[in-house]
Symmetry: D2
Subunit: 363 residues, 4 copies
């Protein structure tokens, strides 16, 4: 535990924003799986910065070099390590920050934990840049899952006060692909336009705005996950809180379930075409931590980008006194839309891990 | 992983609702810690059923027998195993349920996972009864933490649509104690009366209602937790989703942060009395997964009790056909208020685990 | 980690020699497995003390009470907790020892680690008594494995300088049963008689003697275990060193392989009856940490019982000065013969854990 | 688990012998530790091939590139990933081997596990080449330990039938350095000359020979390690069996303890200069899995190199029939002398991990 997650499939992320490289080591991938590197690159491109005026101006190719674990295009059972070199860095932008922790960032907590030894240029190991190697792992997991009929999709559920629709009861792979293909990943493009406007307004106001990502997985068998602390919700939550800026995770109706009555929230079981399903899916595909076979539905709340261009109140660590801080550099006014593939990636890794572990309920 | 959580301090919960006993094995407790068994019992009594008309009629003494790990009133370094015998069971109430999964319960997923071999009488291993041994572990952890100035409190943040106040910026041990001493654990008793009315109404309507529990920990040092997947949020979330009926977990401003701007959500750093603090605490005491030294604040959403007295739609597993189900037996119309000490318990265990691991940021 | 081992199947041992009880919690057992409690008791009886003049005079019924996880004779997916009450204790025998650590025991290291708070009466949590709950776990695992054609047997390979034969290239279930049925578990009864004589001589000399246990498992599929640190050898070794008094573990030819040439030690592959086997089995059934499908063969070295009746040199912890110690109480002059089923038990648990994890080499 | 070990300090090894690179990701290093890269290189050079006629002719520079975790020469709290590019590969040497598993190698078990998808050129992920990144991790751990007065040394205890002396009761850092500086790492150079002669003879005979490595750690505090399965012996054994070709691990007197009497094997406690020590150290520095404060002593048995130049019996996997195999390519006639720093490296990592975890016996 730390910069690693998974049980059978272990994903270890390394690198700092302004170091030589970021990367990921994936231990436990099944052998013989073809990995389509072009498809992987297309997935990585979905989170890549510098593509539109709503994102940071930092431009990175984000092309991973795979150092091990892949032989003639197929996984070979050995750990797969992928490295993405860091290129376009402006470390001088961060010189002032060594002494003035940015509000909302890990600068202060890293300074306390590592007694001033942390490399916090550009957020260091806490940077959103670390989501690039996460997407390498997730992009590989997605390909392996898709081959088994398990598909994962996500969209921007809200930005600020503007909400998208939720996923329908039975999302399809085509719906997931359609959303993923959009430059701005929402179900309802009218809402999407309003969200983009909200982001632009925040940017103009030298400010930022938060958002929620909704993610769904279809094609999962019933029976995955273990009771109590080994459930699909426990494992997904533990991993999702590893994405920078996530402050809340919920499944199915989530927090809104707390406002409901049981007769509204319970999902009645029905037999449809010989299959046991539920008429609604407020459970979000998991009961008792174990998958029901209905679509898995989760939401992750992203706080507004901590880096804002306005002057802010902070402290000088050396003087141990109050001071003011103006953050320069390039920053997204909203991270949530770029986080959409990241949530998919983390979900894909956790689900593949659960599938590899198998439903060992019986032997 | 499964019915166990923790890294240095491992807490393993066992038992079924209608089996011989439920219990907990706690491995990794520091030695030499005095455990006040009367104080422990008072803590357990806070979640005990059968105390007021809002709770299930099942009456259990819930007095743990400690089989190991405690010698002359102090922990001795060996694992501490505590057992609570099950007494007042009405297993015949559940006979119909073997074939008809109750909506919202784990009956169906357990049936799939264990191919019909699960002991699901009274919810089996998924029962809220398993929170009793969790509270044994948490009650012990609380005593050890309190001795180091770390205090944990919780209250019912909402029931249905009725909301309590949130905790103030700096809760005190006295506030925690005052709430814990109330028969209905809220900050604002007017809201509390409305919540109780909402529960009663749901009960009268043969229905149930959900709620949210807010929990806070004060006295934590800054620097606890590891980056990315080993953070205090990751570990707490993974554990909290192990409490039956939890469908969402958030820290600090949580989901509401997603609706905010950065300038509102960022917590400015200030020096107060020579100490670095934040003026607000929307981060809920953690930045980058590492504690800031501010109060830890989290919220867990509990869905409405799945067992309701109304007839419900379900399926017959044997006939693989639609059918109707009427749940008899005794059930809480709301679990959230009894869950208040359970959330405290799980939080206490995770925090003690983190403290025992130490802030090994430097050596 | 600590008093727990296993990955999918987690076995947690608790209790102290002179506490209320010893026991085990087993999390992750597959559901639907019939457990024959009489067969389990027969297995436990193989390590039970007090059966012959070579063993400690302490007499315990060692009958476990199963508190959870077993419903109508079958595992039900929930953790199985079994408790063995401690009965026949003579704690007064140990009063002097609180201040004088016994050479060869964990008294001193426990005193350092737990700053004098350890319950070391009778060895406390380090006592050989803790092998009783280990045998409960192992006895259950054996039954589940046997149903899949996997059988585990062990014998006393040596006592002091007296050696038994090694297992043949292909041991049979019948051979395992025949050895297990003997009052003194050896292959060659002539050697067995000499070993017993060696134990008696040690006892007469107020001394003790060590021994080696050889254990084998047959019927394992090829392909179990992961490379490098997740191999079958790594996991078995980690678990076997948890048995009190074990100071060495080897697989196949083990240490003797180091004295050989490659041409002698390599096991040539051959096709026999359409199956790929090796002509010899110096590898002990594992190459690269992964099972070959040949019998698994391991050996564990047990040091001589640390408790001897002779006066010994030690220190007074309170006076921090040299002193003499005479250990009274009841002790085995040799633990190795009673350890035979314990080695089988630990091996069975690790192998069942590996099997449950599955050969996830491909998906 | 798999190609990773450690609890607080996680070391993940990746790469295949003939892939692009081998490397290691180290998660959990304390921050602020200066790493002397020249000293690290000198340590790596001790296992480097191609230095003398006793080793494989493969020549690799083995200079790691550190991609993350090191900032201005000091660890920064983020994971440290180091990569060693593979250069001098002769993959064509291995073309025949895809169908003919080499006796003693993991070729067959990898083929079964990964259904023919393993990259086994040069042994793939099972190659001794993977010990280079292990030595990077160990070399870093050694520097951090040495700064705290903990020193680790090792020597070749035997080759074939030729034995070196054992370490003295109290080895010194100077002794460790002196052995490490020798081209052939033994205590007694006369024995060393005989060992080299034995290796040469084996090579001349187109054969190989095994050996034993003895390793010691001095300066450890008493009280490290947890009881039963979390002990220093359990963790070291689990890690040491991850070094290719290790078939046995023992501590202190190890297997020879089994041949002794208790009165000989027990280490009497004595007070010397106010410190509690033992007069002998047959326990090898651990009692009950917890360090005594005496030097830690362990031995690892290495089987003879499986690759020998003689023709050997094997099978054709495609024809499922018997065949003959002649291994070409470059191979060490003995791996044990090059394994000396590898055993030190793995020991260093495990001990640093234990130290970072801290002696949390009390709080």
């Amino acid at each position: 535990m730390s910069s690693e997650f998974g049980k059978i499939l272990k994903v270890s992320v390394f690198g700092q924003s302004h170091g030589a490289a970021v990367g990921v080591n994936i231990d436990g991938l099944p052998a013989g799986e073809a990995i389509d590197l072009e498809e992987l690159q297309r997935f990585l491109d979905r989170r890549r910065p510098g593509r539109n005026p709503l994102s940071t101006a930092r431009s990175e190719a984000d092309t991973p070099e795979i150092l091990s674990g892949l032989e003639r295009g197929r996984t070979c059972g050995a750990p797969l390590c992928a490295v993405i070199r860091n290129g376009d860095q402006h470390s001088q932008d961060y010189s002032e920050l060594a002494d003035k922790p940015r509000p909302g960032h890990a600068d202060y907590t890293a300074w306390v934990k590592w007694k001033g030894h942390a490399d916090m240029r550009g957020g260091g190991h806490f940077s959103g840049r670390l989501t690039a190697p996460l997407c390498v792992a997730g992009g590989i997991a997605r390909q392996i899952l898709a081959r088994r009929g398990i598909h994962i999709g996500a969209h921007l559920d809200s930005v600020g006060m503007v909400c998208d629709e939720h996923f329908p009861l039975y999302p399809t792979p085509e719906l997931f692909e359609a959303v993923a293909a959009k430059p701005f990943p929402v179900l309802d493009d009218v809402s999407g336009a309003q969200m983009q406007e909200a982001i632009r307004e925040a940017k103009m106001a030298l400010d930022s705005v938060g958002g929620v990502v909704e993610c769904s997985a279809i094609g999962l068998p019933a029976g995955l996950g273990d009771p109590m602390f080994g459930g699909v919700e426990n494992r997904l939550a533990a991993a999702l809180f590893g994405i920078p800026a996530v402050k809340g995770v919920e499944f199915g109706a989530g927090f809104s379930a707390a406002a409901r009555r049981g007769s509204e929230n319970n999902d009645p079981f029905v037999v449809e075409n010989g299959q046991i399903r539920t008429q609604t899916n407020h459970a979000g595909g998991a009961l008792g931590g174990i998958t029901t076979g209905m679509p898995l539905v989760l939401r992750a709340a992203f706080k507004p980008t901590s880096s804002i261009a306005r002057e802010q109140q902070t402290v000088s660590l050396s003087a141990r006194d109050n001071t003011r801080l103006q953050i320069h550099g390039r920053h997204d006014p909203c991270v949530a839309h770029r986080a959409v593939p990241v949530v998919e990636a983390v979900t894909a890794v956790v689900l593949l891990d659960l599938l590899l572990e198998g439903n060992h309920g019986t032997f």
